[in-house]
Symmetry: C2
Subunit: 154 residues, 2 copies
């Protein structure tokens, strides 16, 4: 995807959600849509310091909270004390390294169906009116397995 199409797509996304289009919102959303690094507020601030040198952290927090409310973005904790954010363009879940905190997106054919099934079962059992879910799987990432000298059995 070209840079310009990311800008176009995220612009449309903001408009579709009836969100006022400010440079801050547009640039932050485009950054998230084109990076899969699960950034923190600080990471975003640093990454965009050239484009938006005067943007305060409050703005980033406000903006991300708005995106989370609109389900454009999800929040993730990896144990390092701060919240990480992930653009939620297509359904997926996360694998999180218990050693270094590395987060990767995961999906597989049929994940959307499994997800649906879980939500339906949960609605039946709990009586909740379900609106979403988060799944996280924990373990050692490949790098940490090597670093710690652990051999994964096949």
């Amino acid at each position: 995807m070209t840079n310009s199409s990311v800008m176009e797509d995220t612009l449309k996304l903001l408009k579709d959600h009836k969100l006022r289009v400010t440079p801050q919102r547009h640039i932050i959303l485009a950054y998230l849509a084109s990076h899969h690094n699960h950034p923190t507020v600080e990471t975003i601030r640093d990454a965009l310091s050239k484009e938006l040198p005067n943007m305060g952290s409050s703005t980033i927090y406000n903006t991300l909270n708005t995106f989370v409310d609109h389900r454009l973005v999800v929040e993730l904790q990896n144990g390092d004390g701060s919240t990480h954010y992930d653009y939620f363009g297509t359904p997926h879940y996360h694998a999180i390294c218990t050693n270094c905190g590395k987060i990767v997106d995961v999906t597989y054919p049929g994940f959307d169906k499994d997800e649906k099934t879980l939500e339906e079962k949960t609605a039946e059992i709990s009586g909740y009116m379900i609106s979403g879910n988060h799944m996280e799987v924990y373990g050692l990432c490949p790098e940490c397995q090597v670093k710690l000298g652990i051999t994964q059995k096949k």
Copy 2:
């Protein structure tokens, strides 16, 4: 389950995990094992103020972190800003109300198998050596559906 058997069971659990048995640890673990209220540190402090009037919050944090490391307990966020804790005696997941934060435990026949499958797929795809998972399903709890005047379609 009688109160005394909870005390016996949690004592055994601490010993099995080679954790030094202090009154604080034993009483906190017994409290968690016999309550399904997903308490915060403050809730635990208040609930145990009779039994352990001099216990500081630091001790509760230390103790809970130890339990989490040993997988006796899991941490939960419901959006109210503080961490909630849940004794993890049998496999289950959580439904969390997006309106009031109410957390309920959920499981169903075959959940352990579904969970296993998810972990195996994740290992294959990501290369992570999996050690655990958390699933959360969000929605409106029955009380909030009524409170907000929402009718759930069958």
